[in-house]
Amino acid sequence: MYRYTDFDAGFVAERNCQFRAQVERRIDGSLTEDEFKPLRLMNGLYLQLHAYMLRVAIPYGTLNSGQMRQLAYIAERWDKGYGHFTTRQNIQFNWPELRDVPDILDALAEVEMHAIQTSGNTIRNVTADHFAGAAADEVADPRPVAELIRQWSTDHPEFQFLPRKFKVAVTGSPEDRAVTAAHDIGLRIVETAEGGIAYRVLVGGGLGRTPMIGKVLHDALPEADLLPYLEAVVSVWNLLGRRDNKYKSRIKITVHEHGIDEIRRLVEERFAETRTAFTGIDQEMLAAIRSQFAPPAFEQASTGAFEAAYERDPVFRAWADANLAAHRAPGYAIAQISLKAHGETPGDASAAQMRVMADIAERFGHDELRISHEQNVVLPHLRKDDLPEIHAILREHRLATANIGKISDIIACPGMDYCALATARSIPIAQEIATRFDALKTEADIGDLKIKISGCINACGHHHVGHIGILGLDRAGVENYQITLGGDQGPDATLGSRTGPGFSADEIVPAIERIVDAYLDLREDRNETFLETYRRLGMAPFKAALYDKAEEARANAA
């Protein structure tokens, strides 16, 4: 893992000191809210519906046990005993008080964490594949370059007041677990014909009001050119981006309005200038960073205990089937800890649960944890023979739900329960869907199905790329939920299509059940997933199931 240098530590300490003085000046009246707001946002502090919210960066979703324990401590000392992990691999504390925030930031700095650039019109926390450095299918670990981009973009003088926020994601795997096509810039590490690596650069992806899939700006950018090229892209957008209308300010609109070929021409032109300013020091820094991400020393591990438990214990087997992924080293596995126990708030972990996960990482997992963009926690390096014991510990703490990728593994934004921007609630809908399908005992039969819920058009819940997407809106003062079908977040990312009129809060869960029932009737066999069935048959049969039966029910009621 990357360890702060003295420069990093000094930078964060100085920034916290500045913010402490700014908070004091706000409280004593020297600063107005208008003056203070941009300063607090630069330090990740929002004012939401019921309280302040502090968003803490977890760069590329990587944590060690000490950092996780410190998050638990913060949750208990200054919040209400829990934290909320987000789709950008951050953690949010929903209840801090203003005067405590400088102390919280100091506590974060003790473990090399901060909240810088988790808000504001700047380059946000860089995200990455949550299986980085562990996945069997990986071309290269994306975290070193994500860390390099973080260092380059932090307090970058040209990019502190961009037209809007700017999000970068990096994947080192062809499976693209970082949803790169839905980011302002998505970087995909690819192998070159010579056996080296290069970057496929996607630009102009994003969800929200105008959802768009990123377009390929460069197919195979040499590694040495990456930072000057990124600098050229952001620089071009900084000049062209629409500052007159915040709904048209993201780079996806710039790319759409000017066309990808014109953007490429302008980037190349700017790149010719920026390239000369990069002396190669960035490559030296990348080499130094890369050495800090060296993989742990994997042993020749046996798997006998794992296999015996797998044969003997159906509960363990169900968990292993759903929550484990293939590791690059023989005898090892990647485990996903679901933060989606049926009926719980997606992405929330209590302080006690955070400590349990930290303990497991320290004792069994080379001291590494990851946060996934799907709001779960990942233990990337576990010996298979330790998994039965790990599973038993997780079960004790309600962390062993075997539902990764299943219907109850729902991404849900905070919605109107917490977010000042939301137009409807997300969390109770997610809770109700999970509870319903758990009660029906059909989750395992349904198989892979991703439901994603947003409580407003900004799409923090990624509903556009959900196999089933749900968007909560305000229709004449009543919560109303629109459904999209067929979205996909993978390497060939696809936006879902809207089914038709939305449903009330009371109607949405039965509506989802009708869609799922239709899938179970329509699939060719148990191996055909929901998405495959939808792609084979299209919208029509699902739409019929959704609306015809609703009409029938209304007619019967009348």
Binding site: R26, I27, G29, T32, E33, L47, Q48, L49, H50, A51, Y52, K80, N94, W95, E97, L98, R99, T345, M416, D417, Y418, R425, I427, P428, Q431, D474, G477, V478, E479
Partner: protein, 105 residues
């Protein structure tokens, strides 16, 4: 024709805690909507809002929210204000927690 003025309360978030607060007739702030001053006159409502906005050391983002008269004081007319009044759905935190425990200040 201009839309008829409907009853309102002045609300916002407390500077230090971030809690939802309501302006009272006695010029104080309450965490309880039932104690809020109901404003039936548009001119008075605008003045009360200006009063609130001139107290930036106490409140952030003051605005007028619609209410309707109820048996126990004003009731929200929109679900957003109802959630602001009660707290989040998923935990007994915020207003619910305060109701079950400590008194409002």
């Amino acid at each position: 024709m201009p839309r008829a003025f409907t009853p309102k309360v002045v609300t916002g978030n407390a500077l230090l805690e971030g809690d939802v607060i309501y302006l009272t007739e006695a010029d104080g702030w309450s965490r309880d909507l039932a104690e809020a001053e109901v404003l039936d006159d548009e001119a008075v409502a605008q003045l009360r809002l200006l009063d609130a906005q001139s107290r930036p050391g106490e409140v952030v983002g003051a605005y007028l929210a619609d209410v309707s008269p109820g048996a126990n004081g004003p009731e929200p007319t929109h679900f957003r204000e109802d959630f602001r009044r009660t707290g989040p759905s998923n935990y007994s935190h915020g207003k619910q927690e305060q109701r079950s425990g400590t008194e409002f200040s």
